[in-house]
């Protein structure tokens, strides 16, 4: 949350002022761009060679060659962006994303310094070998200032996101205890309702039509309440994942069956499953995520809407894409969508997606909101491929 007074200087302006980054530096970077561009692929290769040689840094890259190839493309864009300006708030926002990605992949902060230094050394070489004698020193300074700014942005967003994660964890621990005790306490009254219903049904067998219908309703609602309690408890309990190899098609079919069974109204669900995709994950937890995403999508799509579940691969991951034709997710909710107790539904308690995220992460996967074909919301759920699948 941005709580600064509107008059206050933006962080990026403050950083620029601190390193004395000025219009002359901007002109020098623009002038350097055509001379640096031919060297970028080589710098990128060397950058990742450097990381892959280092045991600690390498651990942040779990996706093998495919992931490195993707990262190289991102880094090439990032390097090209250094020289393109304008160095305004839009620039800051674009660059800030990189710090957040580093938090997301758990990259220890110290590697950012060494990594930026690899780039610094390469760009210094470019300047030293291409700049005119009188421009040499000011151009080196401009590159230095820019890379210092980049580091400052990365570290700032890194800190911001780490703190955010930490606060979220604390909030969850406190709520978790409260939620667990309420959930457990509710099981006793539900037990009384369930057993009383069982007895009344026996005493009134066969029950006349309207009575039987109400019996069914009570039973269904008790079952629903039990499900809510179980997902609350799943949410607050750290059940470790028990991963094993399982087919993406098996998971999708099981999820489809569970969703059909859980809903009273029919659902138009389109399955597009690439055959032979094997994931390495806890099957129950993976299925739970898919069921949650599908139930959300079905709610959002409404009775006349459609839901599509696609399963294929993305690099070292199996990708499950759940799309719907509903209204989509409001922009103001997007950033907090996976936090506990945030809901877009009038009757939601805001645990489904938070639980999905935790389960995905517990299985070394991830979950996110993406753009897709259907007009409504689209969630991408990634799980590591089993080594039995071709990458």
């Amino acid at each position: 949350m941005d709580e600064r007074a509107p008059m206050e200087e933006h962080l990026f302006d403050e950083i620029k002022r601190y390193v004395d980054f000025n219009a002359a530096d901007e002109l020098r970077l623009v002038a350097l761009e055509p001379r640096a561009a031919p060297h970028l692929p080589r710098i990128v290769d060397d950058f990742y060679d450097h990381i892959l040689r280092h045991t600690g840094a390498r651990q942040s890259i779990s996706g093998g060659h495919a992931q490195v190839a993707r990262l190289k493309v991102s880094l090439t864009h990032w390097l090209a962006g250094l020289f393109q300006g304008p160095w305004d708030l839009g620039y800051y926002e674009r660059r800030a994303r990189i710090g957040r990605v580093h938090v997301a992949i758990d990259l220890p902060q110290q590697y950012m310094f060494t990594a930026v230094n690899v780039i610094r050394a390469h760009l210094a070489d470019v300047v030293l070998s291409t700049a005119s004698p009188e421009e040499l020193r000011p151009e080196l300074h401009a590159v230095d200032k820019l890379l210092d700014m980049e580091l400052a942005i990365m570290l700032h967003t890194y800190r911001e996101d780490s703190l955010h994660r930490l606060r979220q964890g604390e909030r969850l621990a406190t709520f978790g205890q409260l939620v667990a005790s309420i959930a457990h306490e509710l099981r006793n009254p539900l037990g009384v309702i369930e057993s009383s219903l069982f007895l009344v049904r026996k005493r009134l067998d066969p029950a006349p039509e309207p009575v039987a219908r109400h019996f069914d309703k009570i039973e269904a609602q008790v079952r629903l309440s039990n499900r809510i309690i179980s997902s609350l408890l799943d949410m607050v309990r750290e059940r470790p994942a028990a991963p094993r190899e399982v087919g993406a098609d098996t998971l999708c079919q099981a999820a489809q069956e569970a969703v059909t069974a859980a809903r009273s109204t029919p659902l138009t669900l389109e399955l597009r499953v690439t055959p032979g995709v094997l994931v390495f994950a806890d099957p129950d937890q993976a299925q739970q995520v898919l069921v949650n995403l599908l139930l959300n999508a079905a709610d959002a799509a409404g009775p006349s809407g459609r839901v599509r579940l696609t399963a294929d691969t993305r690099g070292a991951f199996a990708r499950f894409l759940v799309e719907d034709t509903g209204p989509g997710i409001a922009p103001e909710v997007r950033r907090r969508l996976f936090e506990p107790l945030v809901s877009t539904k009038a009757r939601g308690i805001g645990l489904g997606l938070a639980l999905c995220k935790r389960l995905a992460e517990r299985n070394r996967g991830s979950i996110g909101l993406v753009q897709a074909e259907l007009p409504g919301a689209a969630f991408e759920f990634l799980l590591p491929l089993s080594t039995g699948s071709a990458e």
Partner: protein
């Protein structure tokens, strides 16, 4: 219907306990409810019950402690546990102590009857 066996039910939730008694009696068992575990301990005589159905979390004396005390007097007593806390340490203790099944509340009545019948027929 002739009684199929005498079952002791101890649960501090009286409404649930009464329902369980009714369900058991409907199924042909003789059954008795105590809502206070200490009272149960004071009144139960050796050989009086074939099986005990005990809630795990109760004030005063929990289900595992109660079972341990009852079994000292009656080593042949069979017992099953009920709990709203499926991941409680007491669940493992109950199993270690020799309780045959731990049901998670809310206990589904027909499932409960099926299991009790099996246990009383085979003793396990």
């Amino acid at each position: 219907m002739s009684p199929r066996g005498h079952i002791l039910v101890v649960d501090d939730n009286a409404d649930l306990g009464e329902n369980l008694i009714e369900i058991l009696e409907d199924a042909g068992y003789r059954a008795q409810l105590f809502t206070d575990p200490l009272e149960a301990l004071g009144k139960v005589c050796p050989g009086q019950y074939a099986l005990a159905l005990l809630d795990l979390r109760m004030p005063g004396l929990d289900g595992v402690e109660l079972f341990r005390a009852l079994r000292r007097r009656d080593p042949t007593l069979l017992a099953v546990a009920m709990t709203a806390f499926a991941h409680d340490d007491r669940v493992r203790e109950a199993v270690d102590e020799g309780m045959l099944v731990v049901f998670t509340k809310p206990v589904e009545p027909s499932g409960l009857l099926g299991r009790l019948e099996g246990i009383l027929a085979t003793g396990a």
